[in-house]
Symmetry: C2
Subunit: 156 residues, 2 copies
């Protein structure tokens, strides 16, 4: 049996044997509107092949001022914050989150994550192993979020 424990290093904020990767393999998903991102890394702690399970668990970390793509997809996210101060645009809501707050992103809901603190912001994110690719917002979604002063700053 493989070693069951995956030790965490509090200084480096990473897990033994888990590689810190780019947030996405293709920057900006080919340049589609809203799909830009900055200062985000991904560590995949568990994926279905290793687990004999249907889910995948990732840790995403954002540098100060880092942000993820503004996107949607059929699969849900369920996030638990581990460090720092973040903000999420989820549909037409703007929610601030801190360690151990949970945030749920339902299917086909436009969302973007941002670091609004002075240090790193990071969260665990569980998803189904079999899932669809992120897609850009449609014109109606984009315009509605742009028209609302509360959400407009996050639509770019």
């Amino acid at each position: 049996m493989a070693e069951p424990r995956v030790p965490f290093d509090p200084q480096r904020f990473d897990w033994a044997g888990v590689e810190r990767r780019e947030y996405k393999p293709i920057p900006g998903a080919g340049g589609a509107r809203g799909m830009g991102f900055s200062g985000v890394t991904r560590q995949t702690l568990a994926r279905p092949d290793d687990l004999t399970a249907g889910y995948e668990l990732r840790y995403f970390e954002f540098e100060p001022e880092g942000y993820s793509s503004l996107e949607k997809h059929r699969h849900s996210h369920f996030v638990v914050v581990l460090r720092g101060e973040g903000r999420a645009l989820v549909d037409h809501e703007v929610v601030d989150c801190r360690p151990f707050d949970a945030v749920h992103v339902p299917p086909l809901t436009p969302h973007r994550w941002l670091n609004v603190g002075a240090g790193p912001f990071g969260f665990l994110c569980t998803v189904d192993g079999a899932r669809d690719r992120p897609q850009p917002l449609d014109d109606g979604e984009w315009e509605a979020l742009k028209a609302d002063p509360a959400t407009a700053p996050y639509v770019f």
Copy 2:
């Protein structure tokens, strides 16, 4: 849309609207060997009905000296510790774990969790929503773990 944020209360160490429940509905699974437990609660943060997803995310917390059943099942566990000092018997390994350490329990692997610290010990545990029920160890597994001085203290 339901409120996407599930706020965490650091004083109470719980999440708004999430009920703290008994570890298992049936104490000791009918009294089968090894299925006893003590001082454990469960908070289900996300289940498939809420999520439109196949996984479930729970937070388990152990009082000092608390422990879970010695059991196995076809589904995997993937655990990330949030607080305290714990120990896990996983197959014939005994692993100590602290905040943000991850522990993987593969299918049909005997396992038990114990709090070995002075304060509460708690972890997030992801599982597939559709999964089998825990079962006791068979005679061979029980005797092998009893015969090894490293694992014997956790076989009861």
